[in-house]
Subunit: 211 residues, 2 copies
DNA sequence: TCTTTTTTGTAACATCGGTTACATTTAATT
DNA sequence: AATTAAATGTAACCGATGTTACAAAAAAGA
């Protein structure tokens, strides 16, 4: 485990901290689609992503859903840190976007290390920083841009995260993540196809040229 | 200054920290409407609110605007902390909602105190926590609710923050903060008046009963 | 008082996105 | 191969919100 940790976090943490993490952390592999956290869950550990990607979603009470952002290698979940500290319930849902490996660290360590390791403090602050900015971008997207632009960004980001020009999603799934309806997404995708930006197959969108 | 600090932060910080703050911090009074931070500003200090309220807004490149949340007594600006740490530019605009007093703390201290004072760590984490949740609520508002509901919430919150059942804003100003148009806001306000929830005057909305 | 500016009211219309309905295509299952 | 289920395509329609235009009211200024 110490090797995987070093590959992802070696440049961030000093030796002693890496050592501590490998002693108290538990390694975990989760398959694509695995629901890691649901809204309302109490959270016992803090996840450090080693490989793969996790999508963070907001749900409302009516079952509506909205993709907030992705976590990748070297990221952690600031929302989880929140919940940990305040013993509060999770405000978000986390789902593995692909097969993902992570190290779970007990909550207590988070506070302890903040006093002890400068690199840990930086990591935690940096995480909050990134997450706040990603949330701001999400706000921008839904407040200031139209669905066609949002769809384009979605395809770009998804392709980047999975490192694949083929996107394996149904229109319905995309509609959920963008908090829209299947018909609207099909309509806009068809427009993109007519513009030569993508090709539509069943369960599969082939990216040609998004620019 | 130490007295004002204690009134707002005495229950949060230990004596030694309060002492340090009062030594390195600078007290500042700003009038209602004062623009404290603009997007793109580099930030040199961290504000601790002593009294009054500050509204935090997101601007996009086309001059569109959106109210994110308010800061009150005992709050600090997590966004600012971000910028401080990363030497990055501000992503948000901060405007005094009313006459406001705050203590500005040099950036360097933030990191120093995080190692030294447990109460400071808690305060910083707690701030991030609150801000993340408020941003989530903003996301909920714009993603899941309609303008009439948002307007109602806006009036409620504004009234709460200012502790006043009279709201002194033009329809145009409200439209900016909700990222809508004046005509739409006038329309919806008129509906609320017809429902007996408010009374409309010039430059002034009188809250009767929002429930 | 007269004029100008600011704010508000309102109608008419456009547009985006959501809904309903149904056909068609493709894949999975028997 | 025949049947069923899932995914996609498309038309028609609706509602919320934004836009344009103009009038009326209120305040500010000359």
């Amino acid at each position: 485990m110490i090797q995987e940790l070093k590959a992802s976090y070696g440049h961030l943490f000093e030796e002693a901290l890496l050592e501590e993490i490998s002693q108290v952390g538990t390694f975990k592999d989760v398959p694509a689609g695995y629901k890691i956290i649901e809204i309302g869950n109490y959270i016992k550990g803090m996840p450090l992503l080693v490989s793969g990607a996790i999508k963070i979603l907001r749900d409302d009470s009516d079952g509506d859903e909205l993709l907030l952002y992705y976590l990748e290698k070297g990221d952690t979940c600031s929302m989880t840190m929140n919940c940990c500290m305040g013993q509060a319930k999770s405000q978000i849902k986390a789902v593995a976007e692909m097969d993902t490996s992570l190290v779970m660290v007990p909550v207590i360590k988070m506070e302890e290390w903040a006093a002890k390791y400068k690199s840990w403090r930086h990591f935690v602050f940096e995480s909050y920083h990134k997450r706040l900015n990603e949330l701001l971008q999400t706000v921008d997207a839904i407040a200031f841009t139209k669905m066609d632009e949002r769809l384009l960004s979605f395809l770009e980001e998804k392709s980047r995260i999975t490192n694949n020009l083929s996107i394996y999603n149904t229109h319905q799934e995309i509609a959920y993540e963008l908090h829209s309806s299947r018909v609207v997404i099909s309509r806009l995708l068809k427009k993109l196809e007519n513009l030569g930006k993508i090709e539509l197959k069943r369960n599969h969108i082939q990216i040609i040229n998004l620019k």
